[in-house]
């Protein structure tokens, strides 16, 4: 199954990281270095992220409906991605806090060699993880470019990932382009989601496939992306640790024990006192004072927090799209590739469809899209063919789970077919969720306009176009009806 490699990778990385965490804790106790202990806690948070992703993958394999979860557990992967993104953001905040603390009070590392060694080991593990999770995209493209360091070039790696997926699924994309009557250009409103075009392309290309396979791929992609970002953050952290330790080894001149030297970079109260004491003592002792040694260039101590801040910026920039995407799915948005307006128009242009109410399209996870609507038709006998046509239409759009409720026209409500037959009674209208308090206004307006036009023309086949005014914004609505009246007067 397509999920198995994911699980294996996650387990592998999890055991590696956990082992390294234990090693780091032990080393920190031996060298009694506090910074190593805090670094080990970062590793622990990485372990937690991997555990979350693993749990999400395990749950999402159960796509069967259960009693309580009628949609199955497929959404677990989106949740896993969101949890990872939130943890990553929180981690970035704490790193910023620590960096600012270091700015105000810089302190040097005691044994930079040990730190450099451990940092290098951590970097190796993280690079391994990056290779594992980077080569995963879109179905078995394996190891992308030979596993060299992807470190901070994550944008290029992401683009590479999507290109490979694009090549692999180009066949499906053309299918999608042909079968999807809307041109892709207009169905994708490009707002703030900038560099995740690649992810969109993948998701678009997957809609025509065998649902089992590809919904795993495209929804588990979100999850894996979360893990990848986390491992990337850790890799960057290790790089910073190693760079810092190396600079400290080669550039910094520390105050050795037993020498009289002063450290001008750290101004704690205690060293100030010592400084004063020393100078006083030296003056008193006379001119045999040796030259004071000062500890090495101060900028070295500020290197660590600066690098940390840069890393935080990179991380936030790459995590934000993941956060936004998973949050939008959980907010029941209309999926990006679907334009509600066009869907509405095309539905209305089908034969036998008089009006549409309460059209909702949302994404369960990955490529599984669910749509519900009330469709108004003439009578029950014509309903079955209309239903078939509607199902085919949705199938072409890539929406395979639809529930269509038919509503039948009652005899004397020809001109008011913009109202829902089975809607709630008016006194509970303000209690309906989702801003349907707006809809009665639009309905009334459309109703009155259409009544005028209907009486002028008395042509039933035009009711579909009047009803189109319902779902359009009121201004366009007025224009449409005005146009109708113009034509009728000619």
């Amino acid at each position: 199954m397509a999920c198995e490699p994911n699980r294996v990778r996650l387990l592998c990385m999890l055991s590696l990281t956990f082992g390294f965490f234990i090693v780091e804790v032990v080393v920190s106790r031996i060298t009694s270095s506090l910074s190593m202990l805090s670094d080990s806690f970062h590793m622990l948070s990485d372990v937690i992220a991997l555990v979350v992703a693993l749990v999400a993958v395990r749950f999402a394999e159960k796509t069967q409906a259960t009693n309580k979860n009628t949609f199955g557990w497929i959404r677990a992967e989106v949740m896993g991605a969101l949890v990872n993104a939130v943890f990553l953001t929180a981690l970035c905040f704490t790193i910023v806090l620590e960096a600012i603390e270091r700015f105000t009070e810089p302190h040097e590392i005691d044994s930079p060699e040990v730190v450099a060694g451990v940092g290098a080991a951590g970097l190796l593990i993280n690079l391994l993880g990056l290779c594992l999770f980077h080569g995963h995209a879109g179905g078995g493209h394996g190891h992308s470019h030979g596993g060299h360091s992807h470190g901070s070039k994550n944008k290029r790696s992401k683009a590479g990932k999507s290109q490979k997926a694009g090549n692999g699924s180009s066949g499906e994309e053309t299918n999608n382009l042909v079968g999807n009557h809307n041109s892709p250009g207009e169905t994708r409103p490009r707002n703030e989601i900038n560099c995740k075009d690649s992810a969109e392309v993948q998701m678009n290309g997957n809609t025509h496939f065998d649902e089992m396979d590809h919904e795993h791929d495209s929804s588990s992609q979100l999850n894996m992306r979360g893990v990848f970002l986390h491992v990337l953050g850790d890799a960057l952290g290790s790089v910073i640790v190693v760079v810092n330790a190396l600079v400290l080894i080669f550039v910094w001149q520390p105050c050795k024990a037993g020498e009289m030297c002063v450290n001008p970079c750290i101004n704690t109260h205690t060293t100030d006192h010592k400084h004063v004491n020393h100078t006083l003592v030296d003056l008193l002792e006379g001119p045999t004072v040796t030259a004071m040694k000062t500890a090495g260039p101060c900028w070295v101590l500020y290197l660590d927090p600066t690098l940390c801040l840069i890393m935080v910026c990179i991380l936030l920039y790459t995590t934000y799209p993941l956060l936004k995407e998973s949050a939008l799915i959980l907010l029941q948005t209309v999926p990006k590739q679907i334009n509600m307006h066009r869907v509405n128009e095309r539905l209305l242009s089908l034969d036998g469809v008089l009006a549409i109410h309460e059209l909702h399209i949302w994404q369960l996870a990955g490529s599984r899209i669910i749509a519900t609507a009330h469709i108004k038709c003439h009578d029950p006998t014509s309903y079955m063919e209309v239903a078939k046509r509607i199902k085919d239409f949705f199938h072409d759009e890539g929406i395979h789970a639809t529930t269509i409720q038919p509503e039948f026209v009652t005899f004397n409500s020809e001109s008011r077919d913009s109202l829902c037959e089975l809607s709630c009674r008016t006194q509970c209208a303000p209690k309906l969720c989702c801003g349907s308090a707006d809809k009665p206004n639009a309905d009334k307006k459309a109703g009155s306009d259409s009544k005028a036009a209907a009486s002028a023309l008395e042509v039933i086949s035009e009711t579909s176009e009047q009803a189109a005014a319902v779902q359009v914004r009121p201004r366009a609505d007025a224009e449409v009806t005005v146009a109708r009246e113009v034509e009728s007067s000619l």
Partner: protein, 383 residues
């Protein structure tokens, strides 16, 4: 030919748009009681944090500076709650066909996650301090911790007046509780002291106290209540009361813990009390967040609403007994936001059945159970 009019008022100059938007948000915040409370609490927390920051910079105390940053971190949780309460009132549009009402569920979930992260962070700090105890100057610790407790109590009282509101309307559902979004009024405080700077200080995370009603998921305004108690069923007032009590106990335990540790440090010089207290508080926070997380996860995973768990099978039976209905298939019921349930199902009916009647009866049955948005698909069985 009639001239068409051009609407001029849709063109607005761009530079006023931002101001207009901001003032619009401000007005909508102040309009609603709970978001007003949230906003004032947020301002209170922010001002405390700024005061601490300024004092820390002036007296060059690292401990105060880092603590003020922690308070800023907490303020983000409040900000998330406030943003959710504003956002969930926006109207639905083309991309958000259900509107933005799920924002509060999401905000509650994210806040729960942040809280878990904070608990983890405090725990790790406690471990670090236990292994390497810094010098603690504890003269000012006790009065500051008592002051923190007082601020926390203020927070509890501000966010907890009134009990539960009733939603009336179509029978059936008795109480509902608002909240969700964490009025995690965690007065967790931990006495913090940093080496060599001689301050014992305290800080109160009263800060997750945002609570609000589910804005228009219920026509009537419900009051706030402490939300980890989530929904509760029809006749179980005691359940929610116990829940609220537990929450208050957890909060006071946290504050008392800090005071006890301050006393221990002062009287008996037990320096280990500080980190142990921190770790216990972290555990408390973690444990109390779990119910909130469970509920939001259930909603976000499109789970069948827990409060309908018993009512639904009865409804299915009643529908299947309607004349002409052969079978009920693929029922899906889920929660959009607190107390708004949406359902879809498919009915297999006989070819000669009265579809209109079946549809209206089905809608009635489910409306009595509390599901107001229902989509029933009718499939005619082939003879």
């Amino acid at each position: 030919m009639l001239p068409l009019s051009i609407k001029d008022d849709e063109y607005k100059p761009a530079k006023f748009n931002l101001l207009v938007k901001l003032s619009g948000w401000f007005r909508s915040i102040l309009a609603d009681k709970t978001s007003r409370n949230l906003f004032f609490f947020l301002c209170l927390n922010l001002s405390f944090a700024f005061v601490e920051l300024m004092y820390g910079i002036w007296s060059n105390s690292l401990g105060l500076i880092s603590d003020s940053f922690h308070m800023f971190f907490d303020c983000t949780a409040l900000l998330a709650g406030l943003a959710a309460s504003v956002i969930s009132r926006w109207r639905s549009n083309d991309s958000f066909s259900y509107g933005y009402v799920r924002a509060e569920v999401l905000a509650g979930f994210v806040n729960g996650l942040f809280l878990i992260f904070t608990a983890f962070f405090i725990f790790s700090e406690g471990v670090e301090r236990a292994l390497e105890p810094p010098d603690v100057h504890h003269e000012r610790l006790l009065p500051v911790s008592v002051a923190g407790l007082l601020v926390n109590l203020v927070g509890i009282f501000v966010f907890q007046h009134g009990g539960h509101g009733h939603s009336h309307g179509e029978g059936g559902h008795g109480h509902s509780h608002s909240l969700f979004n964490g009025s995690l009024n965690h007065g967790h405080r931990h006495g913090h002291s940093h080496d060599g700077h001689g301050h014992g200080h305290e800080h109160s995370h009263g800060g997750h106290g945002h609570s609000h009603e589910e804005p228009h998921c219920h026509g009537k305004s419900l009051t706030q209540s402490i939300p980890i108690c989530g929904h509760h069923k029809h006749n179980s007032d005691q359940q929610s009361d116990v829940c609220v009590l537990l929450h208050i106990i957890a909060d006071t335990l946290g504050s008392i813990g800090v005071i006890i540790s301050a006393l221990l440090m002062q009287k008996y010089e037990l320096m280990i009390a500080d980190p142990i207290c921190s770790m216990l508080i972290a555990l408390l926070i973690g444990v109390s967040v779990v119910p909130l997380l469970k509920e939001s996860i259930g909603i976000l995973m499109q789970r069948t609403p827990p409060s309908l768990d018993q009512a639904l099978p009865e409804c299915y039976q009643r529908v299947q007994q309607l004349q002409g209905v052969y079978n009920l298939q693929e029922p899906h019921f889920w929660t959009l936001c607190t107390d708004v349930y949406i359902g879809t199902l498919k009915l297999l009916v006989a070819p000669d059945a009265d579809t209109r009647w079946i549809l209206s009866q089905t809608h009635n049955i489910f409306t009595q159970a509390g599901v107001r948005q229902l989509y029933v698909q009718i499939d005619t069985a082939a003879m």
